[in-house]
């Protein structure tokens, strides 16, 4: 999309691309598992749909009512994990922290709500494997996002 466009100096072009066209945003019709991370203080949530085949994440979608930081991180993270296995996805959380560099406390909380949404979907998957009936797994966030911006 951006191959032929010369971006001005300033905001990271990758961030701008995720802002304008978030990847894997929305929902899956028949996911293997669904997780929600919710910040009860602000009402902000991330819902994460994961489609697994064995250990491999075939597809993933996320949705949020949160700030643009949350959207951008969800877009980047979902791109990283699709096509990879669950262990890779767990490691991707660490890699994402490195990728995002030094974040403010608020941005860290935005990243954590995305990762927690994914982790909740994994817990939902485990519960389903154990035969439990659970439509989705919900994790409540300990810290609250006040929505600062991510850009360089």
């Amino acid at each position: 999309m951006f191959e032929n466009t010369k971006l001005p100096e300033g905001m990271n072009p990758e961030t701008l691309e995720h802002l304008m066209d978030p990847k894997n945003y929305g929902k899956l019709e028949n996911p293997s598992c669904v997780g929600v991370a919710v910040d009860e203080k602000t009402g902000e949530y991330v819902i994460f749909y994961t489609q697994l085949e064995g250990d491999t994440i075939q597809d993933a979608r996320y949705a949020t009512n949160g700030c643009q930081d949350t959207v951008v991180i969800g877009s980047m993270f979902s791109e990283m994990i699709i096509g990879n296995n669950i262990d890779y996805a767990q490691g991707a959380i660490k890699k994402m922290h490195e990728k995002l560099g030094v974040m403010s406390q608020q941005q860290q909380v935005c990243a954590d709500i995305v990762f927690s949404g994914f982790i909740a979907s994994m817990i939902n998957y485990t519960h389903k494997q154990e035969g439990k009936e659970e439509e989705m797994h919900v994790l409540k966030m300990k810290e609250s996002c006040e929505g600062e911006n991510i850009h360089e």
Binding site: M11, L16, N65
Partner: protein, 269 residues
């Protein structure tokens, strides 16, 4: 009926974003008026669906036309109008929507007859420049983030308030939601046009049902007031950061509007 509601939602977005994308003030203004008509169609369709004991949602499947010229935008829009019109029911509302759309198509046809109208569309060039301002890069970055944040938020508010308005039988709530919807339309219009001016026009992301199916009005309003406070703070910070008198005045103006939104929302408690 739900598929028609979805198409009408998409058509509203197609019309309003065509309006934002086009620089010519007269065409922009006329299309914006048509977008408001399309939004009312949505509202009436939704009311009919609820009356019939059914329900609707805000799912959508839409890509923004990133065209290079006014005629390309308008021709694509004509296609969307025709596709949607084909789904209208044989009813009074169906006939109303059909005649409204026919007039929109007629207006677009008139524009297409004059080559002078076929100007370049710069809304998607990603240059992130404010042509008549000399803004520093960090100011441009701050403005960019603000516009993405707030254009989504206004779209969200329009749809959430409309969803709740359609489901209340209390006159005061209906009236407050109506005012808040009008206010958010104005803000979305302002921010959408600013995004286009900077070459970063983009659709707000789709709403998940968890966002608009409100089970606790009091908590929704309390959270909404906190969000308005946050938006006010963003406006104030941006106004300080921009250091341009004209833009700063605009953000102060938006800031004070947010203050009154809070007063309106308090009446819902």
């Amino acid at each position: 009926m739900n598929s028609l509601y979805r198409k009408k939602h998409e058509l509203w977005l197609h019309i309003i974003f065509a309006s934002f994308a086009i620089n010519d003030e007269e065409i922009k203004s006329r299309l914006y008026e048509f977008s408001l008509i399309a939004f009312r169609h949505m509202k009436w369709l939704g009311a009919d669906i609820l009356r019939d004991g059914d329900d609707y949602n805000y799912d959508r499947d839409i890509k923004l036309y990133k065209r290079q010229s006014v005629f390309e935008v308008l021709r694509a829009l004509m296609g969307e109008v025709n596709n949607t019109s084909a789904l209208y029911p044989q009813s009074v509302l169906g006939k109303r929507m059909l005649t409204d759309d026919a007039y929109l198509l007629e207006y677009i046809s008139q524009i297409l007859q004059n080559e002078i109208n076929d100007k370049e569309v710069t809304a998607f060039n990603m240059q992130r420049k404010w042509l008549d301002k000399n803004l520093a890069q960090e100011q441009i970055d701050a403005l960019t983030m603000f516009l993405f944040e707030e254009s989504y938020k206004e779209y969200e508010l329009i749809l959430v308030y409309a969803y709740m308005q359609a489901r209340t039988d209390k006159v005061l709530e209906f009236s407050i939601f109506e005012d808040l919807i009008h206010e958010s339309h104005f803000h979305l219009k302002s921010f959408g046009n600013m995004m286009a001016k900077m070459g970063i026009l983009a659709l707000p992301r789709e709403l998940h049902a968890m966002t608009y199916v409100i089970k606790d009005l009091e908590k929704f309003v309390t959270d909404g007031i906190a969000e308005e406070e946050a938006a006010k703070e963003m406006c104030r910070e941006l106004s300080d950061a921009i250091k341009d008198e004209e833009l700063s005045k605009f953000f102060d103006f938006i800031n004070y509007q947010e203050s009154y939104h809070i007063e309106l929302m308090k009446k819902l408690l």
